[in-house]
Amino acid sequence: MIEVANLRKEYRVARHHRGALGALRNLVETGHDVVRAVDGISFTIAVGEFVGFIGPNGAGKSTTVKMLTGVLEPTAGTVRVAGREPRRERVAHVAHLGVVFGQRTQLWWDLPVIESFDLLRHIYRIAEPAYRAQRDRLVEMLEIGPLLDVPVRKLSLGQRMRCELAASLVHAPDILFLDEPTIGLDVVAKETIRTFLAVENRERGTTILLTTHDLVDIERLCPRMILIDHGRVVYDGSVEQIRRSLGNERRLRVDFDGPAPPAVPANVEVEERGPERLVLRFRRDQVPAPQLIAWLAERAPITDLSLEETPIERIVAGIYRDGLRDGLRDGLPPNS
């Protein structure tokens, strides 16, 4: 469905000089720096996939998405979406595309929500019966019936985002690009949107590319994630695999009936120590959890315990910070 090969995008950025003299020099000098925002990205996404697209700010995510949507022309490399070249065949391409920018609205700000849907029907030239069926389905699933007659500017962020999603799907697109659809939302609103997206992907087979900084979105929704940094793909594979390879670290919290044992086994680190509590950190491949628990239970009666995996956020933060070097050491192929 989406094929990207050796995609590159370079920007020419005017060179700026600082200070009052610099401002004068900016007027006369036309120096340019070439910034490579996307530096040879390749991936393929099949029909019906739900892919998380993540990376730190400035990694090249939105530039890549813009090239996929046809808004930007690649400097080099190829993009094909459903067999089309997005830039060349813009109108045909975007007719099958739904896009949500979390930070920007596509609804008519001063008009009731329903009017935006009606206008989109005419923009996308959707026949009345097909439109009504799709609209009613979206209204029901996203529970926006009571919002339809409210002007968009009066909606809360969560309400607006549900309406944005509906608006992006009015024309029943095959592909959906989402850019931070859950940003700034409360837990309940996030959950509603995640549930909706999961159903949309599963039942209608919509191919979804989700850009987000909220890794819970990725964990809950995307079997596959593509991680980019400095304009390159640094990881492309399942969330499970990256957790297994990089999420080696575990955390064990134990409450004892009485004083906690003064010492711990080798390779186990004490993160926090209370009179009757220990919080321990260890690597899964070095210390099997059952053995550690048995060892502790021999020394003091345990009243309660919990075992935590490394949150995916920590893993990804580690990759952003150190690159994939640690991952390579753990036997993770660089581009699998």
Binding site: E73, V94, D110, L111, I123, Y124, R125, P151
Partner: protein, 265 residues
């Protein structure tokens, strides 16, 4: 046809959106009404004092004024999106338009209809009609007047589109230049080109061809082409010149759009 329908639908949405702020709408409309009165007043007093202006009677001047007023106000109201284009560009609104399967130019044009300009269009039409009645224009002269009005719409549409196109390179720095051409141009055209100095007349004819908007068609309507010393062909050149301005603007905008798609800024 479907493009025109979509234009009207989007314009309708823009009007309904503005109606949400009714008080502001009425205040702005009455301000515009006063501006129109204030615009024509100096011409009126000028002619009252001197009887005529370079051989142009008050009714003839009113005709000239009404023609340019109707065409400029129609474009200013109906294609407002082009005038605000710099802002839309910076806010990323253009991306949204590119993501919809319709012409970008159509979506910009239809983005905003300035309803308060309706008052101005009506005022211009009123002045024009009264002048035409006083001058007892025949059908042929009326046809020239309408040709001038339509040509003016093409011309001003070209100017606002050209102004929008320039935004791709300058990002909001050229709006003053555009204002000079539109507001300044329509003000200059409220007087017959013949009252201006030779060099300025040349600029208005061959440089920025504003004279083709209302002056030459009005000459034909008033049978004054020869009187003012112009070749008889000049009024006939009016429609093609105005259309050419729009075509050039369209080409420039298309180029700007291509540039945007390759730079993203």
């Amino acid at each position: 046809m479907s493009a025109l329908r979509l234009y009207l639908r989007l314009i309708g949405a823009s009007v309904r959106a503005q109606m949400q702020y009714r008080a502001s709408f009425f205040i702005r409309s009455s301000v515009d009404f006063l501006v129109v009165v204030a615009d024509f007043l100096p011409i009126y007093f000028l002619v009252r004092k001197f009887g005529a202006l370079e051989g142009w009677s008050l009714a003839e001047l009113a005709l000239l004024y009404g023609m340019v007023e109707v065409s400029w106000a129609t474009i200013e109201g109906g294609l407002r999106g082009f005038e605000h284009f710099g802002t839309y560009l910076i806010q990323g609104e253009l991306d949204r338009w590119l993501l919809r399967p319709r012409s970008v130019i159509l979506q910009i044009a239809a983005h905003w209809f300035e309803i308060r300009k309706l008052g101005r269009i009506a005022q211009g039409a009123l002045v024009l009609t009264i002048a035409a009645i006083v001058l007892q224009l025949d059908a042929r002269s009326w046809a020239w007047v309408l040709t001038g009005v339509c040509g003016g719409m093409l011309f001003f549409a070209g100017v606002v589109m050209l102004g929008a196109a320039a935004q791709f390179w300058t990002l909001g720095e050229t709006s003053e230049l555009q204002n000079m051409l539109t507001y300044g141009g329509s003000a200059a055209l409220s007087y017959p080109v013949s009252i201006y100095a030779q060099w300025f007349r040349r600029v208005l004819t061959y440089g920025i061809p504003l004279a083709f908007v209302n002056y030459f068609p009005a000459l034909a309507a008033l049978h004054r082409t020869a009187v003012e010393g112009w070749p008889a062909i000049m009024p006939w050149l009016s429609p093609p010149v105005c259309a050419a301005v729009l075509l050039v603007a369209h080409a420039a905008f298309t180029r700007g759009l291509r540039r945007y798609e390759s730079t993203g800024s």
